[in-house]
Symmetry: C2
Subunit: 600 residues, 2 copies
């Protein structure tokens, strides 16, 4: 390998945090000269950053090649038609960068490439004998995020490895999915992440089974749940809360008829519960709590085609709607606030006193009637359970309102907040929540794209069958950010050896020409031993500044050539542990090589 000299390296470390960085890893990537912002969510890679990026790419490439996936590369600038055929031209909404070329043709910057892969396979292949097939690319993608965040973690231009599997039947897809899952385990093991594999929703991609690989991180945007007893793990969007069992009919039979309660000035759950405890104490002495009330939350759904429609969600009063769970449930619609103007347009909705009887199947309005409000309830609402809820009259609630006796819903919705201690969907224990960064996502897409774009092959009997597909992604540029977020300390970055921009950072200190001469010799020897060496040869920079730079840059092994040289020693410092030890000059190369290779 070679020696890079700090005196000529295009690098300036910064003492101050960049104004536009929130997360510690992001701040350090900018301060240590790895990346630089070009526009919101759009970054330039400086020499150090590009070296780390190339290492991530190489790990991903090796593991994809190892499962027989073949590398290709599609354009980033694409014609509209295939995305029109799949529906994504519209479904992607504002997240899609759209543009026109000089001939006024509609084009887009690819967010992912299902369409292009599908069409190319259709173009080349025609028989079941051609399958299975897995293709991948490591390529630039674009999403016009509303809130580009945290540097490379959620960029608008980013690098992804996306791969696609093509199989003639479900068993083939299952096997392809499993091969990718195994490859991803190897990739994330090599990247040195603390990660978890969780069940996931498939979002705008369509398809069925899917899992995410999350780097466990307090700064992650994703919340996931785990059940320690069973090993169940899911992205919070994907948690399927089990349907509560029906209440015993004998108990339901004993529930008094629904009764209106005068509850003036109780537009919130808290004011309602206080009012109930003040004016309507229960005979058994138990206090009313939010869990006894049915909260009906109304939102406006905005569909990509411009259509807007209200949705009312019924859930226990002690739970909130989780915005991300709701978004996942209603995609591709976006969730908007239900405004005062919207309330005015739907007089059946009495703000603060909304009740199920005005909605869904209960309102006596035909399906398709524009006034009919869609009403979905949380799965914890058991059939036969009784509730205090709005009576659709200002200042009035209704008690003893029984689900299945007094009201019905249009269906279930998994949009309520999941909390620590909630039962695991597999019945095996309690859930714990934590945060993570989505680093990989594997989908069983199924036939959605093959159907939309007509990808069929002849099967063994000469019959045309639609191909079934999988789609698999790794956030390559995001991985650099995620590693930085989980590998740093106060003083700077601390790269795992696999991804470090250099194997060793050699620092020459002082003003003694002999030290610099010796250090240059060591740098060459280390390079000759196959190591990639960063040599801080700057003649007029103080040792303090050089040490600070070495700490922030974060190469795992630091060698200091200084005063000890007179006694024939140099110092080896482990960046992560901070341990230092003097080694005889003769042993330097073997010691450093052992450290670098041993831990690889």
């Amino acid at each position: 390998m070679s020696v890079t000299r700090m005196s000529t390296l295009f690098l300036r470390t910064l003492r101050e945090d960049p104004a536009d960085a929130e997360l510690p890893g992001h701040k350090l990537l900018v301060r240590a000269g790895y990346i630089r912002r070009a526009a919101p969510g759009i970054y330039s890679w400086l020499p150090l950053g590009l070296k780390v990026l190339a290492k991530v790419e190489q790990i991903v490439r090796e593991e994809m090649d190892a499962i027989g996936a073949q590398e290709v590369r599609f354009p980033a600038l694409l014609p509209r038609e295939p995305y029109e055929a799949s529906g994504r031209w519209t479904d992607y909404g504002d997240n899609l960068f759209r543009l026109k070329d000089r001939r006024e043709n509609d084009m887009l910057l690819g967010p992912t490439h299902e369409e292009m892969f599908t069409l190319t396979v259709k173009d080349l292949y025609s028989s079941y004998k051609d399958l299975p097939l897995a293709l991948y690319q490591i390529q630039i993608k674009y999403r016009d995020e509303a809130r580009p965040r945290a540097g490379l973690l959620r960029g608008r231009e980013f690098i992804m490895k996306d791969s696609y599997s093509f199989d003639v039947d479900d068993a083939g897809l299952e096997a392809a999915y499993q091969r990718h899952r195994d490859a991803y385990v190897k990739i994330f093991d090599r990247l040195g992440f603390d990660y978890v594999i969780v069940k996931a929703t498939s979002g705008a991609m369509g398809g069925s089974a899917s899992e995410e690989f999350l780097a466990i991180s307090d700064v992650g945007e994703d919340t996931f749940v785990r059940c320690d007893e069973s090993g169940y793990a899911a992205n919070v969007e994907a948690v399927q809360v089990p349907q509560a069992p029906d209440v015993d009919p004998d108990i339901v039979a004993a529930i008094p008829p629904a009764t209106d309660l005068d509850t003036s000035d109780t537009p919130t759950i808290e004011t309602l519960v206080n009012c109930l405890n003040d004016l309507y104490p229960r005979s058994d002495g138990r206090a009313w709590t939010g869990a006894d009330t049915l909260k009906n939350v109304v939102v406006m759904l905005a569909y990509p085609d411009g259509h807007r429609e209200p949705l009312v969600i019924g859930l226990p009063g002690d739970r909130q709607v989780d915005p991300k769970r709701l978004e996942a449930q209603v995609a591709p619609a976006e969730v908007e606030e239900f405004t005062e103007a919207d309330f005015a347009a739907y007089p059946a909705l009495v703000k603060g006193y909304i009740g199920p009887v005005a909605m869904g199947p209960n309102a006596g309005l035909a399906e398709g009637d524009a006034r009919r409000l869609r009403f979905l309830v949380d799965p914890t609402i058991a059939r036969g359970s009784e509730w205090v809820t709005g009576a659709n009259k200002h200042g009035v609630h209704v008690a003893h309102l029984v689900y299945g006796r007094d009201f019905e819903a249009d269906g279930l919705i998994h949009a309520a907040q999941v909390r620590d201690g909630d039962p695991s969907p597999d019945g095996a224990g309690e859930l714990r929540t934590a945060r993570g960064i989505e680093m990989g996502h594997i989908f069983q897409l199924g036939r959605k794209y093959a159907d939309a774009l007509g990808l069929k092959v002849l099967d063994e009997n000469g019959k045309l069958v639609t191909v079934t597909m999988g789609s698999y992604g790794v956030g390559v540029s995001r991985a650099v950010a995620a590693v930085a977020e989980s590998n740093h300390d106060e003083a700077g970055l601390v790269w795992p050896r696999n991804l470090a921009p250099f194997d060793v950072h050699l620092v020459a200190t002082g003003k003694d020409e002999a030290i610099f001469e010796a250090a240059a010799g060591f740098a060459d020897e280390l390079a000759a031993a196959g190591l990639d060496v960063l040599y801080d040869d700057r003649p007029k920079v103080s040792p303090g500044v050089k040490f600070k730079d070495a700490e922030i840059v974060g190469v795992p092994t630091i060698v200091v050539v200084g005063r000890g040289l007179a006694e024939g020693t140099v110092e080896i410092k482990d960046r992560r542990s901070g341990e230092r030890r003097a080694v005889p000059v003769d042993a330097l190369v073997s010691e450093v090589t052992r450290e670098v290779r041993g831990q690889e």
Copy 2:
């Protein structure tokens, strides 16, 4: 290295030429499964193509690293502001892909990155001690070409290596330019091109000295000239025809006064020359030719800011205006046809009888007068020379009109066609024209971008000085196309070893299981010897089809395992020469290795 099996390779060769391909190399790249069109001027890279592309990238990267240039990577999606500051947001005209993000910010897809490099260096560096610096990237670029052509040769999305040098003074720039020039010579030598280095114009890039590296090719879009005697070579746009020496005043004094000639129905040079020879024969008996006439060509210049202005070009009647030379002279304006409506708007221009006296300084109109027509003449028009030209009256020409006596021009323009046999600008001999593909371009940009974007550093005396820059490009994806155009025969592609997707293409023929077993063993042995092997293991494909595929794919060494195996031999075929020879099975690995390594 490894073995790739044809039975699973994502490859289908095509028998028919693709409908949208013009050039033989382009047709073969598509037919042999290297690339595929996604949209006009936008291509997908299939596995074979991507392998060749990666080899080109690697050669370029090694030679850039060797001159100390440091690799970085800038985004393709960029904000408007820096390009506004440099003027290129407007100057690039329709060639720039522009778009708006979800917040209505103007953005663009980068055509080249002078601005971003300049701003980043400004951000990091502040002293002359930081320089010299050279940075490069291998990255995707975008230009919305009016006529995307010839596949990868002129794409709208393409891969370029662009690098930039930063120096404190002109001597530094000169040295940086020379280092790049030397590196380019090495790159193009390694790519195996027959190329020529020519003087070039700098087009929309600004700046002064520049040279192009052209792959010599009959299908090239660029015309260049060479003088065998002196070694002078220039892109035809850059040829500076020497100014003709003034005519001896004694000769001028003897020229009769200008005289109108009745020349009805002579709107073309040909009809005019015929008329002159019929009605106005010369006293010395010499026939009139086009070279005796002054042709005045009028065009409309359209500037990026929307401004439009006519230009009249005076040149000898036996020369055409060369559209590319003219474009280079008037950039960033584009050249449009002068329409009938335009003629109506400028009544001084009598179509077919335009003469200099109505134009430029001769028309008696003040500078800035909208009716004043800009008039530039070809450098071969000598002061004191006499001409037959239009009299600005329908059906009338004028003879004995003398440049400098009877008319003046606003200046010179180098827009006339250059022809074989024209004198070399260095006075050393005659020019020969040929065609080439622009593969590399090196510019001394100077201070244009540093000025526009404020890139200054402190010099040795503590004074702020503007940095001077060079800009250097290699068409990386274009190189794949150019190699294909110059390395093929009737049967298919013929890759140089440096760029071939595989080292050796091993073909197993027949139905004998023993042959396939032996061939698989040879493939493994060749791979173990460090070669990258494509093994055609397809069991039910005829030898004829396999041979055809091997020819079109174009791997330089083909090994055929077939009937000879019974006698202990296999056949080695050289794809380029067509030579075949039987070698003993034992010698296969050493023979193939020698061929592959020997010619590398």
